[in-house]
Amino acid sequence: MITIKNLHASIDGKEILKGLNLEVKPGEVHAIMGPNGAGKSTLASVLAGREEYEITEGTVDFDGKDLLDLKTEDRAREGLFLAFQYPIEIPGVSNINFLRAALNEIREYRGEEPISAKDFLILVREKSAIVELDPKLASRSVNEGFSGGEKKRNEIFQMAMLNPKLAILDETDSGLDIDALRIVANGVNKLKSKDNATIVITHYQRLLDYIIPDFVHVLYDGKIVKTGTKELALDLEERGYDWIKEEMSL
């Protein structure tokens, strides 16, 4: 699905990612954990194509395509989805028109016909149920006036609508209470299939009780320094990151 090799990225001349390697195969769920400033959100931003970041070295292969060579929207159209840590508000633009524009552009890219209004509405109804999103929110402006939890659920709703190959959830759990967390996680689980994959970036092990990862990676100082299974997450929760730092310095 995605193969990241020796990825180096910097912003304003400061190197954040320092040779990151990661391979994700279809059907897998990978969790990336790490202390603040390790480069977790940078990784998400770089993969989605934020222009502020400069890629100084490395390659990213996404289903046979050179991801770094694609424009942001083409990455999305190829099936890469980022659930934003801080979803932005777009005043005056209704959620539903926004999604229809997105869906049809993606379909057009794939050489498919635009979706009919009727099918689109059916899809909206079906997918909003997955994250228990109030259908009323669909007609409101994108993220405007949404609570923190609603914004995050809206991200997963969009993910359901766009049906990506690879979803990257950037701290989707932060700020959520346990009910909202459960809803979001259930949503993600329902969308899981043998053909798609998920990268969960998180601070807290808690989320991984709901979204069971196949692999847990520790990102530290711009590199993945340790890889394990879900037990590693529990270890980290209990012992913090210091022991990793120590292990590294040995």
């Binding site: 989605a48 929207e73 005043p91 633009v93 524009a101």
Partner: protein
């Protein structure tokens, strides 16, 4: 589900100014240039009564004394008033019925999306239209149906003949001849326009609309619109404008007067899409328009405008809130791109007690354009408890454009309250990125965001116009980001 931004975007694939065609019709024009003789000739061609000719000649005299205004934040080469054709009319037999209209003309209307076919009312378009091409009104639909309610809706020239008492009573009462240079010019040479009268207590059941079109080369368009809403009546009036693509600058200098008597309400919406010139700034319409309304007791006038066209725009639809408790509103979206220049805004003159005004202005500037908001809120001494709220936002799309705000606030009453807010900012890069991450191209993302930004104003437009306006915004913004 209604027309979405997405449908819109599809409609727009690389579309440019689509109204830039020319209709080949024989037309009758008077020779270029302006003199007393030209005015006499226009008046004679229109078979006008003596009093109207006198009105014109007096206006011409006043105009000769005046100089072109220079205070607006626009730069253009002053039109050569002797190089303009002041009268151009499609050679016509009188159109007695819709069937008399030439096929070319019908084709033109079709291209412009104007429906004159009264049958169409059944399929949903419920708009009565007056179509003005170059100097004269070509056709007006639904006349009979309206006249059953006592509503008069016809071309200005026709009204001069059929309802001279109303024209005499109201023409020039809101915009006096001497008001400004272009109003004086218009008063001297105006050729046609629309007239509308809504009788006491009548709620006009359909939107009334005038569609203005400049076709002939070298002509100026000088139309006059007069809307009178008698006591307790209501009307919603729409105005659309287009012109062919030509590399010359053509002048459009209109006068619009609205009169809302006690308890009446007039909603006046404009989608202005005169040819803006090409992307190098060549050609386009000079749009110098005076629009003003007067509100008597408890009356309300609401101006809504979406302005995407014209090379140079200079226009301030205003409300004189004369009667107690009267209300004035101004909702505006002005988009400029390439080398366009716009200096637009409103004047709210509070004379009566408890008068209220609201100003919402959204400017979007791209390319190398300049977009200015200029507004006046004036509270007179006796306007006890007057209220004004103004919000003027500017969105910047390129680093070579300019966005300016020039509000004038004058207050002479201590019980009144005026609030003015303005912001200027760049289009949000994070918003564009968010859209792109969902697979939407940056051009389309901008169109979405700008439409959202203007929603407060677009929502004020009647449905058919709102769709039109959305399309226009997207077309106008192509290539605006620098």
């Amino acid at each position: 589900m209604s027309y979405t931004e997405n449908d819109l975007a599809e409609d727009l694939q690389n579309q440019e100014y689509k109204y830039g065609f020319v209709t080949n019709l024989d037309s009758e024009t008077v020779p270029k240039g302006l003199s007393e003789d030209t005015i006499r000739l226009i008046s004679a061609k229109k078979e006008e009564p003596e009093w109207l000719l006198d009105y014109r000649l007096k206006a011409y005299e006043i105009w000769l004394q005046m100089t072109e205004p220079t205070w607006a934040h626009v730069h253009y080469e002053k039109p050569d008033f002797q190089d303009i054709i002041y009268y151009s009319a499609v050679k016509q037999k009188k159109y007695e019925s819709w069937d008399d209209v030439e096929p070319e003309m019908k084709e033109t209307m079709k291209k412009l999306g104007i429906s004159m076919d009264e049958q169409k009312v059944l399929t949903g378009t419920n708009v009565a239209v007056d179509f003005v091409m170059d100097s004269v009104s070509v056709a007006t639909s639904f006349k009979e149906k309206l006249s059953e309610l006592g509503i008069i809706f016809c071309s200005f020239s026709e009204a001069v003949k059929t309802h001279p008492e109303l024209i005499k009573k109201y023409m020039g009462t809101v915009v006096p001849t001497s008001d400004n240079f272009y109003a004086a010019l218009n008063s001297a040479v105006f050729t046609d326009g629309s007239f509308c009268y809504i009788p006491k207590g009548v709620r006009c059941p359909m939107e009334l609309s005038t569609y203005f079109r400049i076709n002939e080369k070298g002509t100026g368009q000088f139309e006059r619109t007069l809307v009178v809403a008698d006591k307790g009546s209501y009307v919603s009036y729409l105005e659309g404008c287009t012109a062919p693509m030509r590399d010359e600058n053509q002048l459009h200098a209109a006068v619009v007067e609205l009169i809302a008597l006690d308890d009446a309400e007039i909603k006046y919406s404009t989608v202005q899409n005169w040819y803006p010139g090409d992307k190098n700034g060549l050609g386009g319409i000079f749009n110098f328009v005076t629009k003003r309304g007067v509100c008597e007791k408890n009356a309300k006038i609401s101006w809504t405008q979406v302005e995407t066209g014209s090379a140079v725009t200079w226009k301030y639809p205003s409300c004189i809130l004369k009667g107690d408790n009267s209300v004035g509103e101004f909702y505006s979206v002005a988009v400029t791109n390439h080398f366009q220049q716009a200096d637009t805004g409103t004047k709210m003159i509070h004379l009566g007690k408890n008068t209220k005004s609201t100003i919402i202005s959204k400017g979007v500037s791209g390319g190398k354009s300049n977009n200015s908001y200029r507004g006046l809120v004036q509270i007179h001494k006796n306007a006890t408890n007057a209220r004004n709220f103004s919000q003027c936002d500017s969105l910047l799309m390129s680093d070579e454009c300019g966005a300016h705000t020039f509000p004038y606030i004058e207050c002479k009453n201590s019980s009144s309250k005026i609030e003015h807010e303005a912001t200027t900012s760049k289009i949000g890069e994070d918003q564009i990125f968010y859209c792109q991450q969902r697979g939407i191209s940056s051009e389309k993302a901008i169109s979405l965001i700008v439409n959202g930004y203007c929603k407060e104003v677009l929502n004020q437009l009647p449905m058919e116009f709102a769709v039109e306006a959305q399309k226009l915004l997207a077309i106008s913004l192509e290539g605006s980001v620098g």
